[in-house]
């Protein structure tokens, strides 16, 4: 490692420095506002470090980490999403009794984990990034630790995530056994594998897939998603839905740019089955839910199923369409969970469908934001959701994956039904007695953020070209 | 000749360690008596030397009673663990060139491994006795030993950095020019503390604290099982003393006298120091003990390690 290597690492270094600073500040002076401000500054600074890091790319810094345009794009995405989540968290945490400061520390640690995932080029950094993310999430999910459902959700997540990690590790070990290296970009080296080696590799990759599938909550590894989405505090749910999954997608794209996943192979078929199941089961199960957080959980299962369609197509469009869709999905989820967060109280989350009845009459602006997010989730105009899905489908069409596309269409049609159900509830006449909850205060910062996100969503729906061009430029470097 | 030399070594060390431990019981009582201006055991044999033999006969013939409420297998296992781990640790101690059971290239780690396993004996004894004093003693010792183990390993890291090896023989050889207690004085101090805590000696004897926990984890033990805890403690003292000598005081190195004698002399000094500490220091409160470990000792060892590492890196000695 040389001094030149530090420059591309700047975003990570700034983030780590911010973590240490926040930790020390907490040790000497507990102050919610101060910690919040420091966290914001840390995240903004590390976003600001991105342009500084962007000269002389791509650069491999030790075998573990590679920084290239793709990585920088995803770092920006992850950091921005985490910044938004932190902004929403403030008013929620104000109502939390007890220590609030550790929340920000853990949030930044989790973000660091996701950033490491994005830049990792090696099983070791993959594993450490993933686990830093997970370990922080265990605590974040149980953060308001005197609510029973938090503990329950955290334990479920911990047990299942740890089991998934061990699958992942075993898979990595087998892959290492075959390749003799843990570095992604050396795995493509065309060595003539014996039958034995390819058998081992298939088992290894299948086990890796279990781990990744779990983190993305794909069917049949999705059991945790609804419980954790419901049980976790609303801002943490937002984090799980956006930052954590975004990091994994970036990693998956990088890993499978080198490890072959040929069309029609056994592994490919299993992936396809998972995709179809996720799209169908996610949407069908969402229909019967009456809890908005659970609905969003099932809907996220389906959405990552859609993403897999483009992934399986593995053609020129795959990476750019997935990235674009992911950006749109993250913005949409941030709006949806942001609204839930600002309306929620730690003891009583604003999550039952009944709570939303007549929201429009009582809270005009949040209702509009939420409505917009639902439109985007249902891929209706004028939002980015529509463009994204067309883009995904185009990738599928190019590789003629008709079965997967059929599932995508069926899933989307079911999706429209339940998203609109929620949307309609918002605009219905409120029941007389449901006016009990007092209108929470929307902090100016949160409101500005929501407005910006909504504008972004609409702009992506109308002028997607600039972002697509940017993504295509950065994606070209990969693979 | 060479075929049974290892066996001679093994049994020699085993016999030596056990005899030393038994002798230590007598030594401790005599020395304590001297410092407290009393006689100590002086009836059985010359200078009361046979007192230990008498004690052993008593302990052997005592009824070996297992309380009905205890968890029997674990209850029996606990004292065996302490004897096994301590005796196993003696295997890697280099007493003199040619004397010693094995020369292990990870000897130091082996020692740490055994000392971390010995925690179980106390914890299991405390748990299986199914009595509240024992349980409290067991919990205290678990917390204490876990905390002190952390910097026990770290305090030795400086020595490893300077010697460049985990092998105890290499470490002794590396002290030909200067004994490590001079450059590694902080390491010595912290290791001494950790060693005291690991052997539950005063002032760190909170797990057994007669006055508050009525002997803590081994309240329910009697007969030979109690004897094993008892002897185990003295074995521990001998072990930690000889380990300090190996790591910091040049092991067998020394002029004129044969190496083995040097080793024995140096070790005796530290055994005496352990006993003197018992005679002179009061027992701290439990939270003070923990705070001391985490807030004073751990930073000190880390500082020591960083400085040592930096110096070695800079000057390469």
């Amino acid at each position: 490692m040389t001094l030149q290597d530090l420059r591309p690492l700047l975003p990570l270094l700034v983030l780590s420095a911010a973590i240490v600073t926040v930790m020390l500040v907490i040790a000497f002076k507990r102050d919610h506002r101060l910690t919040f401000a420091l966290t914001l500054i840390g995240l903004v600074l590390s976003l600001a470090a991105l342009p500084l890091a962007s000269s002389g790319l791509p650069r491999t810094v030790t075998p573990l980490v590679v920084i290239d345009g793709f990585a920088l794009f995803y770092i920006a995405l992850v950091l921005a999403a985490s910044l938004v989540v932190v902004i929403f968290s403030f008013s929620y945490l104000e109502k939390v009794a007890g220590n609030r400061e550790e929340y920000y520390l853990l949030m930044m640690l989790a973000t660091l984990g996701a950033v490491v995932l994005v830049v990792s080029n090696h099983f070791v950094s993959f594993f450490i990034g993933l686990e830093t993310l997970s370990i922080s999430l265990y605590t974040l999910i149980a953060y308001t630790r005197f609510e029973r459902q938090r503990i329950e959700a955290a334990i479920k997540y911990l047990v299942l995530a740890a089991a998934a990690s061990s699958f992942l590790l075993f898979g990595m070990a087998l892959a290492y056994l075959v390749y003799g290296t843990m570095q992604f970009d050396q795995m493509s080296s065309p060595s003539n594998f014996s039958a034995a080696d390819s058998a081992l590799l298939t088992v290894g990759l299948a086990m890796l897939m279990v781990g990744i599938g779990f983190k993305l909550a794909l069917v049949p590894f999705h059991m945790w998603a609804p419980d954790v989405y419901q049980g976790a505090p609303a801002p943490v749910t937002a984090f799980v839905a956006t930052v954590s999954k975004g990091g994994i997608i970036a990693l998956m794209l990088r890993l499978f740019a080198f490890v072959p996943l040929t069309l029609g192979s056994n592994l490919w078929n299993v992936f396809a089955l998972i995709a179809i199941l996720s799209m169908l089961a996610g949407n069908v199960l969402a229909v019967v839910q009456s809890n908005v957080k659970r609905i969003l959980a099932y809907s996220s299962i389906a959405h990552f199923g859609y993403l897999l369609v483009a992934f399986l197509a593995s053609n020129a469009l795959s990476i750019s369409s997935m990235t674009f869709y992911l950006v749109v999905y993250i913005i949409t989820s941030l709006i949806a969970f942001g609204v839930i967060t600002v309306l929620s109280h730690p003891q009583k989350e604003f999550e039952e469908l009944e709570d939303y009845r007549g929201l429009f009459r009582q809270q005009r602006r949040p209702a509009i934001f939420l409505g917009l997010a639902l439109l985007s989730l249902a891929s209706l105009p004028p939002t980015g959701g529509l463009v994204g899905k067309i883009f995904l489908a185009a990738a599928g069409v190019e590789s003629s994956l008709w079965l997967l596309l059929a599932a995508l269409v069926i899933g989307s049609v079911i999706g429209v039904f339940y998203y609109l159900r929620v949307a309609i509830t918002i605009f219905r006449q409120p029941e007389e007695e449901s006016a009990v909850w007092t209108a929470p205060r929307l902090t100016p910062l949160a409101e500005v953020t929501l407005v910006l996100l909504s504008l972004g969503l609409i702009i992506l729906g109308i002028f997607p070209a600039p972002l697509i061009n940017l993504i295509e430029a950065v994606a070209a470097r990969l693979g | 000749m060479s075929a049974w030399l290892p066996w001679l070594n093994i049994f020699g060390v085993l016999f030596g360690a056990l005899t030393t431990a038994a002798m230590l019981i007598w030594v401790e009582r005599r020395l304590l008596a001297v410092w407290q201006d009393r006689y100590g055991p002086n009836r059985v044999g010359p200078f009361g030397l046979l007192q230990v033999v008498a004690d052993v006969i008593k302990i052997f013939t005592k009824e070996d009673w297992i309380p009905p409420f205890a968890d029997k297998p674990v209850f029996i296992l606990a004292p065996a663990v302490v004897m096994t781990t301590v005796l196993m640790s003696f295997a890697v101690i280099p007493f003199a060139p040619g004397i010693g059971v094995v020369d292990f290239n990870i000897g130091l780690l082996f020692f740490l491994a055994m000392s971390s396993l010995s925690v179980y004996s106390v914890m299991l004894a405390g748990w299986s006795s199914n009595s509240k004093y024992s349980l409290l003693g067991g919990m205290r010792s678990a917390a204490q030993m876990l905390s002190y183990e952390v910097f026990m390993g770290l305090s030795l890291a400086g020595v490893v950095v300077m010697a460049g090896s985990f092998s105890l023989r290499d470490i002794v050889e590396a002290q030909r020019n200067v004994w490590f207690f001079i450059p590694q004085f902080l390491g010595l101090v912290t290791f001494l503390m950790a060693g005291l805590a690991e052997t539950h000696r005063l002032p760190f004897d909170l797990p057994e604290a007669e006055s508050e926990l009525i002997a803590g984890y081994h309240s329910e033990y009697s007969g030979m099982k109690f004897g094993m805890f008892f002897v185990g403690e003295y074995l521990g003292i001998a072990l930690i003393s000889s380990f300090i000598v190996t790591m910091f005081f040049g092991g067998w190195l020394g002029p004129f006298l044969p190496p083995f004698v040097w080793f024995g002399l140096k070790t005796s000094v530290f055994v005496a120091l352990f006993i003197l500490l018992r005679a002179s220091l009061p027992r701290p409160r439990f939270d003070q003990l923990m705070a001391f470990a985490w807030k004073a000792m751990l930073p000190l060892t880390l500082l020591n390690l960083v400085v040592t590492g930096g110096l070695v890196l800079a000057f390469g000695f």
């Binding site: 594993f127 370990i135 329950e152 334990i155 047990v159 061990s166 990595m172 419901q230 839910q289 | -």
Partner: protein
């Protein structure tokens, strides 16, 4: 050193992994579930050591060190959660906690 049949070591790790998995699925006591996870992590670690041995590289051992770090962090949080669970539900049974249902 001696010649150990590496595929047998690998099969051992697969067996341990499966046993851990069975334990995880069958036991309802959260305590045993955590222990089963430890078994699975260890089995994966063994596989890494075997792989490292095959290539004569230290990388497998390095990975094991990171697994150790993970296990320590995970267990400490898991046990803290167990304490919470026991305090709030008065049980170690994970199925007793079922407030989250769709």
């Amino acid at each position: 050193m001696t010649a150990i049949p590496l595929n047998h070591a690998l099969i051992l790790s697969a067996m341990l992994f499966t046993v851990g998995l069975v334990g995880l699925l069958v036991r309802r006591n959260i305590f045993f579930m955590l222990m089963s996870i430890e078994i699975m992590l260890n089995a994966a670690g063994l596989a890494f050591i075997v792989a490292g041995t095959r290539w004569g590289q230290p990388d497998g051992q390095v990975m094991f060190l990171f697994i150790l770090a993970l296990a320590a962090a995970e267990v400490s949080i898991g046990l803290a959660l167990i304490l919470r669970l026991y305090q709030q539900f008065k049980t170690m049974d994970v199925d007793a906690a079922h407030e989250l249902q769709g």
